[in-house]
């Protein structure tokens, strides 16, 4: 395999993996705080549709990105109100949110199917991007990719080193105790849910404004669900989420590469690759059940009712 091909594969891996990184990191924070939000898919689609529409209407890509995040934020606020304030069942509420998001985004975006825009362009980092291989793979992306790395680094630091990180984990592990020692459980949970929503919206914006600059119905293609699985298989560890997302990215472009190289395997089989690869690899890294159990937020999915 020649070096150019390799470079291109790695470059594409990062691009494909980025929306998953964003969604999964958002969901990770949410689940660490003990809230299981199954509404990712809906929030991503709402972000994608809203971002695209705003960009077409205003002509500004960055307004579009902002609008995508706001759309995700709004959707998660709805979820938070139902699942946190009204103590509704989190699973049912999340599923409803997904179905709602799929429908509403399709409705809003009908007139924009097939409209073309100039997507977010790549920002080549001076000097670094002229390095061989690495320059192209790591430093010639659009700004949202760099942003995803920034968010990853911030979260890694947050959960390792800061009181905020500890607080989120504490609330997800034992909300009653957290309340007893004076934490504001509701506030922390709302914050986490809203963060997750904004991230999912951002991922949607990335899809419709940078990855494939266009809008089509259901364009997230199940990424919300994959991200959800990633979080579980990554046993709620930030660094493993990143790894898993890129693995998935690599596997999902692999079928294009293999076809390009002339392997004659059914394309349907090949497009299963990413899913199989993700599951296999992540099963291997989360093999240790005891450790996995220790990492699972104990109160995940359990509604919290404050005492009166």
């Amino acid at each position: 395999m020649d070096i150019d091909l390799l470079t291109n594969i790695l470059f594409a891996t990062i691009r494909t993996g980025t929306p998953l990184v964003l969604i999964a990191l958002g969901e990770l924070v949410c689940e660490k705080a003990g809230v299981l939000n199954l509404g990712q898919e809906g929030m991503v689609l709402m972000g994608a549709a809203t971002g695209f529409i705003i960009t077409v209407v205003t002509g500004s890509l960055w307004l579009g990105v902002g609008a995508a995040m706001l759309a995700g934020l709004f959707m998660s606020l709805l979820f938070g109100f139902l699942a946190i304030s009204l103590v509704a069942n989190q699973v049912a509420t999340g599923l409803a949110l997904t179905i709602f998001g799929i429908g509403l985004s399709a409705f809003l975006g009908t007139e924009y199917v097939g409209v073309g825009i100039e997507g977010i362009s790549q920002l080549e980092i001076p000097l670094l991007s002229s390095l061989p291989v690495i320059g192209k793979v790591l430093f010639s992306h659009d700004p949202l990719v760099y942003l995803s790395w920034g968010i990853f680094a911030a979260l890694y630091f947050c959960f390792r080193r800061t009181r905020l990180g500890l607080t989120i984990r504490a609330v997800g592990e034992n909300p009653e105790s957290a309340n007893a020692i004076g934490m504001r459980v509701m506030l922390v949970r709302y914050g986490a849910v809203l963060f997750g929503g904004a991230m999912a919206g951002l991922a949607g914006g990335y899809l419709s404004l940078a990855y494939t600059p266009l809008w089509s119905e259901g364009m997230s293609a199940g990424r919300g669900w994959i991200a959800l699985a990633l979080v579980v298989f990554a046993s709620w560890k930030v660094e493993r989420v990143l790894l898993g997302a890129y693995l998935f990215g690599a596997a999902s472009i692999m079928h294009l590469v293999l076809q390009g190289l002339g392997f004659s395997v059914s394309p349907n089989l090949l497009s299963m690759l990413p899913y199989i690869a993700t599951i296999v690899v992540l099963m291997i890294i989360s093999n240790d059940t005891i450790k996995a159990k220790l990492n699972t937020p104990l109160a995940l999915g359990q509604p919290y009712r404050p005492q009166i």
Binding site: A170, S177, N179, A180, T289, I308
Partner: protein, 511 residues
Amino acid sequence: MNRLELSGITKRYPGCIANQDISLTVQPGEIHALLGENGAGKSTLMKIIYGVVKPDAGEITWQNKQVVIEGPADARRLGIGMVFQHFSLFETLTVAENIALGLPAGQFRNRAELKQKISEVSDHYGMKLDPDRFVHTLSVGEQQRVEIVRCLLQNLQLLILDEPTSVLTPQEVGRLFKTLRQLAAEGCSILFITHKLEEVRQLCDIASILRHGELSGQCKPADTTTEELARLMVGDDTPLFRQFDKVQGGSPILEITGLVHQPDDPFASPIRDIGFTVNAGEIVGIAGVAGNGQEELLSLISGEARSAAGQVKLHGRPVGRLYPDQRRKLGVGVVPEERLGRGAVPSHSLVQNTLLTGFGQMVNRWGWIQRLPLRKLTQEILDKFNVKAENIDAQAKSLSGGNLQKFIIGREVLQQPKLLVCSHPTWGVDIGAAIVIHDALINLRDQGAGVLILSEDIEELFKICDRLGAICEGKLSPVLPASQVSIQRLGQWMAGEFTESASNQGAPAYA
């Protein structure tokens, strides 16, 4: 100057009054006991002081200043710390992280300084702690120290302890009392909730007694007999103490040999090579601090967990591979520790809960439920065991803990089991209900059934058990006739010291 003064505190919940017009004062450096049966309103009152629950009426005065405590953070700012019965700890975090979370942000510049301070404080009060250990690896006694140290790191003026000794070995209780006396000597007030009278007499300067949500009396425990204290707790019409004869059992009913089990749950304790026998017509008691394998042992006997077939035998028949319903048909009754959720389905009616373990009798051969006999049996349980419930159709979760326990024990006992396994038969149950339960267990024994009791309550074990042992980290001590076991020895067994040492010979048995 009073440290704390409560006046006219009232808190009502739908259907019951938790606190009715309670007034009391706490002086600086005083160890103040709050005594009362379960449901007397002790915990509610403490939660009001700590700001977790808001009172409907009444005033709180702190160091001569009237205050409204909005929440735990508020209480801690005033210098009030509380150690709950169920600890407010996060098991997957380290000791230092747990403590850091309970302190106001910015109290310490960095982790190193915090760890230093934790070591200092814990050494000063004789409570050794390693700040880097994960909480799930600590014993219950050590977890309690984490809670106390967390309180001590903030300018502590009043420490509230909710039944702190119920989870400790007698030796650990001794150590805790030493720490508390030292704290009090340094001027910190302590509110000590308990229903163990002997502890109050040992430790406390003054005792306030609650009954049915009202303050029923105050006394100096040192000048009061245990009997007088108990009388204040339960009122005039309940008999207080009973003695039961010790008997020798007959032929073996349950035989356990070389039982080993490795649970899937990383928080659960493995069972390491346990062997003992329960004979017909005797009560065997196994003491132990919670989380040392009692739950696992219970589920291995009930059939919820399975072992190699020959490791558990009933009437000589290997049953280790059988499921709970199959074992029940062989005459095994089970009263698990967790009443709601395992002993009874919370949202089901009592009738339905009776059916759950009595299905062999209450269903005809076509699988239809025999409604009338079932209702009759439920009513019989309520009558015979003095269960206070609205009626037989009341939801299980509407019953108080003690009443639900009477119901569950009644349900199992009335099925005439050959073997009854009972975890914490009277935990959280008041004196009156405890007497009913003890009588039922003794009756069952006298009818020739084997009874196995797993409990933390040493007093209870000595009272009703014919043979005694203790479990620690999944290993079982020898099981000896109760008259040959001293309380010190049982305490050592609970701490895992199974080999005999000369020092504990000749000490009288606890009665």
